[in-house]
Amino acid sequence: MLPRPEVTPLTEPYWSGLAAGELRFQHCRDCGNAWLPARDECPRCLSRSHDWQVASGGGRIISWVVYRQAVHEAFVERIPYNVAIVELDEGPRLITNVDAREEELAIELPVRLRIDEDDGLHLPRFTLAGGRWSR
């Protein structure tokens, strides 16, 4: 079974957003900063006043790795698999997987959000914006 995130009152809007089909990020009402993962305070102006906004779904690859051996038992059957950093068009960055062949991956490549239901979790993953679905 995939490891479960620890859902707290702070992160609950994030996970329930995914279940509802949208990727949400935090946005500061005082300075306009936007970020993930969820925090109590804006790391730029330290305000506690923030709301959740919905990502448009566009982004780009900052970097990626490909696991050749599993660190956790849940991933033994999944290797090789990639983990990527994606920057959303709205600014926040997140850890994710990109559904693409290894040789297609490159930095700065445009990607598109796809919320997967996987092992009972709703996970924000990405496909190549110009590319095809590989499964």
């Binding site: 956790h72 997140l94 930095i107």
Partner: protein
Amino acid sequence: MIAGVGHTAYGKLPGRSPTSMNVEAVRKALADARVEKDAVDALFVKYPTSGHVPMYGQVVAEALGVQPRIGGVWDQGGATNISMLSFAAMAISHGQCEVAVVTTADNPRTGTRQAYERAWGDDAPFGWFGTPAGYAMIARRHMEEFGTTHEQLGEIAVAARRHGATNPDAQLRAPITLEDFTQSRPVVDPFCRDDCCLISDGAAAIVVMSRERARQLGAPAPVPVLGFGQGQTSWEVAQRPTLTETAAAVSAHTAFAMAGIGPEQVDVAQLYDCFTITVLMTLEDYGFCRKGQGGPFVADGALQLGGALPTNTSGGLLSETGMPGMQLVLEGVRQMRGTSVNQVPGAQTCVVSNQGGIMHTHSTLVLGQE
């Protein structure tokens, strides 16, 4: 001045607690400095990553039977040791203490290595685990931005393994070729096994004091500390605005300014090599070459004895011991004393780097001669 150095065996030390290993390393460092333990009035201890104990500095002080005026436990991951040395030196220069012991011990090999394999926050469902992957993420970005190749990273491992092969204290005394390196077991692309440091039990310690006190106590071979510096970034890898520049630049700038020298005056280097990419980026951030030119710089054996900048002359984390950093300080001291098994002839200045987290923390040490 670093007046004394000591270390335990490196590798698998079953049954040895970090406290016991700390005591052994400190006993040897005091003997090397020819200082009685009653002279020790400051004790700086790196927390053991594998098992943190509250007030661990007092645990080690009690085991040593010393009553420090100042000290405690410091946590900057792999940057901790040079950082503690820096604070010890500053405390000494302000009259807060006279003889400081800085020590580190851990047993991730026979104990637990969970700390290095943990998931990052809520990102475990994506399979995002472990320290190697964090560095691999940075390495990939460097390769894509600057054309750095895995073979170039391999030059760093080949040099370290060649140096470690002649070091009788090294945990891994097996030189490799570039082909061995590229053929080693894939771990997390772009890294294979030989990009990654060893996992080791062991301890190492140093004794720090002023030049005057070293003379009074008759320390036989004190090595001057010419400069030190530190730098930090708070962002996790995924949030860091740039992946290819690190706080090493700030740290080195501070240390070189204090020493009054530049990178061109460095004769030998001991650069933290938890992963090959760390050395490559430290070379760039320290100014040994321009940003992005680390790959070409390390090619053709520049880091080996007789090369442009002999580096990690006792084998580093890749070959001597995976201990986080103090072994590099010890090798710097040996190079300045002229007692390294891979002595760089006529070396007058040695730079040492320590680095922690996923390039979160950095510390730099410049050693010289009297």
